[in-house]
Amino acid sequence: MSVVPNVRGLLRSRPLPPARPAPGELLAEAEDLHVRLGAEPVLGGVGVRVRAGEVLALVGPNGAGKSTLLGALAADVPAAEGVVRLHGRPVSGWTPAELALRRAVLPQSAELAFPFTVEEVVRMGRAPHAAPPAKDDLAVAEAMAATEVTGFAGRPFSALSGGERARVALARVLAQRAPLLLLDEPTAALDLRHQEAVLRLCRERARAGDAVVVVLHDLALAAAYAHRVTVLHAGRVAADGPPAEVFTETLLSRVYEHPVEVYDHPRTGALVVGPRRLP
């Protein structure tokens, strides 16, 4: 450790963002991760790896531990055993300010204590950066355009509908421009068109070199947009791999305790996943 970087670190009020990750670089990793909430074990030995350039979907029934795993990757939830690494370093080794430049998190529900406007909320995503104002403006404008919230930029967040709020929250996360995106059910409150748009956005970010981890309930969406799927069941990984390999009727029917059918779309040949319903 030389003295010079330390002095520079003291003079600099905020840390600098990391270099763009190389394609395939390991951005987040959980190894033999155990998490307990109170005495209750929620995750029991989970391993997951997230690489730059891919969309990883976390799926599984209610209470399988999807959000907890996402929380552990976000450094919100401490590991009881095992380790979580972000950009190669255990999460406890980063300061909050350094983490904010490396991962952005979309929580399940978006709340706001005071009536900030949509644009002010999206701009909050720029807080970790010590960037020139023009760069902030551009990031905010692009994030709002991508999530189609520009039209109500001046309205107070509290006056929006659930779906609109969800999109504003996503815009804030995009404006943060972190190389690792952790999204907890980004499609839950959205209509069909915006669900598709959000997942297309995830693919775009992955193509641009980011890593995207997304918790999904809709298996069809996961099948259509994820590069890789991790199926969680009772706090463990039941399967992990490309959707075409992981989504089998046997596995999904067992995990969801409901008959699930998987077939190729008769016209497009794409994978279709859904519950089997009685006629």
């Binding site: 905020r14 976000a74 919100d76 300061t95 909050p96 300010a97 350094e98 983490l99 904010a100 430049l101 991962r103 952005a104 998190v105 929580p107 709340e111 706001l112 204590a113 005071f114 009536p115 900030f116 406007t117 644009e119 002010e120 909320v121 701009r123 909050m124 995503g125 807080a127 970790p128 403006d137 551009l138 905010v140 404008a141 692009e142 709002m144 355009a145 520009t150 039209g151 930029a153 001046g154 509290s158 943060q176």
Partner: protein, 358 residues
């Protein structure tokens, strides 16, 4: 092309809000500059405003002229210490209210409502009732600060669950803390001698009638320290409105921020309470009015609340000592009289927005 248009529409309302903030700041400062000499001139011994200004200029060696012995003494030994104290106390209460609402993420949080003022008053009253003076003139403010700090921590710990503060829990905690603080003050009264009793009663009503320069000096460092620190946390308070976890995701060290702000709040509240007693609702009404006018951004709200708080308390104190002359209304009674209906309105609005308390 599209991005340019997006940028323009996005930036417009924000710019409007920022300029509102600047206009309000200028307006508040101007109003203070007018009200201070007016308040200094009004009272049982009226002094023309021109004479007030002249005397101030004279003392600042900028021309002007000294007044006769009596008006000069009234002005500098009675009116000005009281005015300066009103400004300090008002600024501290307004600023503490804005910070507290930001930390609790709840627009109903206020030092008086949630019991921090009465907690601080317990410390101050204890100092008087037991004749403590181990720290000289600092004894009362230091004890008020310690008791206030303990109370904020207690309320904070009791009213939060899962990173959120529910309105009901917050208000109920306030009731319990206020009741306990009131009981302790009553107990100290019971044990205190007659001289101390009359001194303590003033704490319960809130008043600036015993203002002296030495009191000003006793609270000056606390108030100025708190007021100087508070604006440093504006940006992080904005992020805290998203919730604790999202704020942490954006790089805020939430634990440290909370602890620091609780200290600053206790500092400001103690400064106000140790010289003026319990003056309620200033910290509630002031940030609210400013939020309605200029939006919830803390960069304006925190310093703006200090300015408007100073203005409001100076005006209220002026009314308290002139409205029923020669008698004097207790200041705390006056602010509560005006502030409580506002609190009712706020409660109703919050309940309507939440669709009930359950």
């Amino acid at each position: 092309m599209l991005d340019k248009a997006a940028e323009r529409t996005a930036a417009a309302p924000l710019r409007a809000r920022r300029s509102t903030g600047w206009l309000l700041t200028v307006g508040l400062v101007a109003a203070l500059l007018v009200l201070v000499p007016v308040a200094a001139g009004l009272g049982a011994y009226p002094i023309p405003v021109a004479d007030v200004v002249g005397s101030v200029l004279h003392r600042a060696h900028l021309g002007g002229s000294a007044l006769d012995r009596v008006p000069e003494s009234v002005l500098w030994n009675v009116r000005f210490p009281r005015i300066v104290l009103a400004l300090l106390v008002g600024a501290s209460l307004g600023c503490a209210g804005a910070l507290m609402q930001g930390v609790f993420g709840n627009p109903l949080a206020e030092p008086g409502v949630i019991g921090v003022s009465s907690g601080a008053a317990v410390g101050a009253v204890a100092a008087i009732a037991f004749g403590l003076d181990f720290l000289g003139m600092w004894t009362v403010p230091v004890l008020a600060f310690l008791a206030g700090l303990g109370t904020v921590l207690l309320v904070y710990a009791m009213s939060r669950s899962g990173g959120r503060t529910e309105v009901v829990t917050l208000i109920l905690t306030g009731i319990a803390v206020n009741a306990f603080g009131g009981a302790l003050i009553g107990l100290f009264l019971f044990f205190a001698d007659t001289a101390a009793v009359s001194q303590i009663t003033f704490w319960q009503l809130g008043s600036l009638s015993q203002a002296t320069w030495s009191k000003v000096l006793a609270v000056l460092p606390w108030a100025v320290g708190g007021l100087a620190l508070a604006p440093l946390y504006s940006r992080r308070l904005d992020l805290l409105a998203l919730g604790e976890r999202p704020a942490r995701h954006l790089g805020v060290d939430v634990e440290r921020l909370r602890l620091t702000l609780v200290l600053v709040i206790a500092l400001l509240t103690a400064a106000a309470v140790s010289v003026a007693g319990i003056i309620g609702f200033v910290g509630l009404v002031v940030p609210h009015l400013l939020r309605m006018a200029a939006g919830p951004g803390h960069r304006f709200l925190v310093p703006g609340s200090a300015l408007l708080g100073a203005l409001v308390l100076l005006g209220a104190d002026l009314a308290a000592r002139t409205a029923a002359a020669p008698a004097e209304l207790p200041l705390g009674v006056l602010t509560s009289l005006l502030g409580s209906p506002f609190f009712f309105l706020l409660l109703r609005r919050t309940r309507r927005r939440q669709g009930g308390w359950a």
